[in-house]
């Protein structure tokens, strides 16, 4: 069992929900990312999701797109991100790390990803590969790395069956039709789809996209095994990129953590 599976199992036994927090590596700079990752953990975040910047992030709304652009100004590559994770692991050996990005950047670093478990990453979420296919189809064959698949409101029952078969780690339920940072949560639809997914798999199912307020997180945590929060954190990081005073982010994450448990 890797860190991710261990963590999810532990939360389940404690009857707790997972808080997953997202940031883009290198936004505003790589040192701040490292600092933020530790701050995430000390604020109650269970799993860190690191966005791998890409020039053409088609699933992202304007907030996260701009974060990708800021990171790319420093030419942040997957190699830099692996180095970042290595630094993080000097201090923190237990918090699971998921890389979220687009196929082209992963393919460009396939040897790096396949190296060994020593890279300190627990799972990979590739936004633009169809969920019923496996990462191994694209050369990602590291057995220590889980595959996080997406299921969305438009996924057919048949696809849900196939996707759940190939998922390890957790299933990422996309709350809405739209890009990251949108805001039109339909709680009824979400709960009905989460229930449907549960009939096919025991893999924990976490809900992401469109979660901003404590109330959003609280409601969704009732039905999902955890919540994933991205754009609102990235927006807060951008707001303090000059002062680097991250205290508001800490406050926000602590609030989310309380709201879901």
């Amino acid at each position: 069992m890797n860190r991710l599976q261990t963590k999810l199992k532990q939360l389940k036994t404690e009857e707790k929900k997972a808080l997953v927090a997202y940031l883009v590596a290198g936004d505003p700079d790589i040192d701040s990312t490292l600092e933020l990752m530790h701050l995430f953990v000390s604020s109650g975040v269970d799993i860190i999701e690191i966005g791998v910047p890409f020039t053409d992030p088609i699933a992202e709304g304007p907030i996260i797109q701009k974060a990708h652009d800021r990171s790319l100004k420093h030419n942040i590559s997957l190699q830099n991100i692996i180095d970042l994770v290595k630094d993080f692991r000097q201090v923190d050996t237990s918090t699971p790390i998921v890389l979220m990005g687009y196929l082209n950047t992963f393919i460009a670093h396939i040897n790096l990803i396949n190296q060994s478990d020593a890279i300190g990453v627990d799972a990979v979420l590739v936004v633009d590969i169809p969920g019923e296919l496996e990462l191994s189809n694209y050369g990602i064959t590291n057995p220590n790395i889980d595959t996080i698949s997406l299921i969305s409101p438009t996924t057919s029952d048949e696809r849900i069956k196939q996707i759940t078969k190939n998922s390890s780690g957790f299933i990422y339920y996309v709350n809405l039709r739209g890009v990251t940072g949108s805001s039109n949560l339909d709680i009824e639809e979400i709960t009905s789809n989460l229930n449907k997914i549960r009939t096919h798999t025991n893999v924990p199912t976490l809900a992401g996209f469109g979660i901003k307020s404590y109330e959003d997180a609280k409601v969704l945590a009732k039905y999902a095994d955890g919540v994933i929060v991205g754009s609102s954190i990235v927006e807060m990081i951008d707001a303090v990129k000059d002062t680097k005073d991250f205290s508001k982010i800490k406050e926000y994450l602590e609030g989310l953590s309380r709201a879901i448990n």
Partner: protein, 400 residues
Amino acid sequence: MSINDNFPDKNGFFGDYGGKFVPETLMYALDELETTYNKLKSSPEFIDEFYKDLSHFVGRPSPLYLAKRLSDQYGSGNIWLKREDLNHTGAHKINNTVGQILLAKHMGKKRIIAETGAGQHGVATATVAARLGLECHIYMGTEDVKRQSLNVYRIKLLGAHVHPVDSGSATLKDALNEALRDWVTNVEDTYYIIGSVTGPHPYPLIVRDFNSVVGQELITQSQALFNRNPDAIVACVGGGSNAMGAFYPFIEKEDVRLIGVEAGGIGLETGEHAAPLNDGTPGVLHGARSYLMQDEIGQVKDTKSVSAGLDYPGVGPEHSWLKDTGRAEYVAVNDNDALRAFHEVTKLEGIMPALETAHAFGYLPILMKQLGKESNVIVNVSGRGDKDINTVAQIDGIEL
């Protein structure tokens, strides 16, 4: 080499190229489109409807015209022009939009979206949407909004909304990103008319099929006008739809050279161009694996071309396959040579080609040297040049 009805394969691959690399939300829409298209493409009523529109709305068949003075200029063989510039709205793009709007109608979609670079696809989409009274949104990079302002106004006159896109390089690739984001958001009631043989499966197949009418006509016209197959067909390649439409019916006729001309920008050796087949490596962008202009860490590079319609870092997957198998040749013509060809064809033939098309003409000096006096070369005149007058005037230092 043989092609068959199973190409691309059921997952949308031409060899190693193509596929469906999209966020999960769009998978259902692509499946729906594929099912609809597979059903309709063999339906006699649908085919009849499509060809009727091509005749009466687009004005097909387009002529195959002997460019006498241009041929004399090179002195080696006949240069024939496939006059896609004479189509309604002024480019080959209308062949595809006329077909796809029929799919949208059959699927009951109420809202049409599209990306555009040169604006020709935007105009062609806004045109067919107007004809059916459908709401239409066109995404266009702010760079292109500036250099193709005439087409922007045409799109607006046709009642469509133009959304300028300022992200990234603010050109065609970014317009495509934004159109895909719109589609993810409005997937249920929206039909996305992609403008080239790019994007996820089944688009490369659908756009190729609708444009293949060009190549089909060329087979008949070549027989009628010079009683054999042409020695070569030359077409510019942005995403590759006009080239694919002209090439496709000739793929198995191996005596015909198929030559795609990419945008060489400032020059291939400078890296400042838009020629992925000449100077790119395979990668994944906009839903398909294909040749791509990218750096060593997998980021997509900015492109450079005087022509907005060719200013794109990717290319349709079937072209990547044709390149690797050697069935088609891909060359690049830089900005200056394309501009020279633009003036040459305008003066010698009284035909003002689009700057995209001018790239195809720009390869004639090299090609005609390789051919004998009896040869027949077809240049696919993908569009007319009115939209580029501002750009050309500016380069020539003329204030309009």
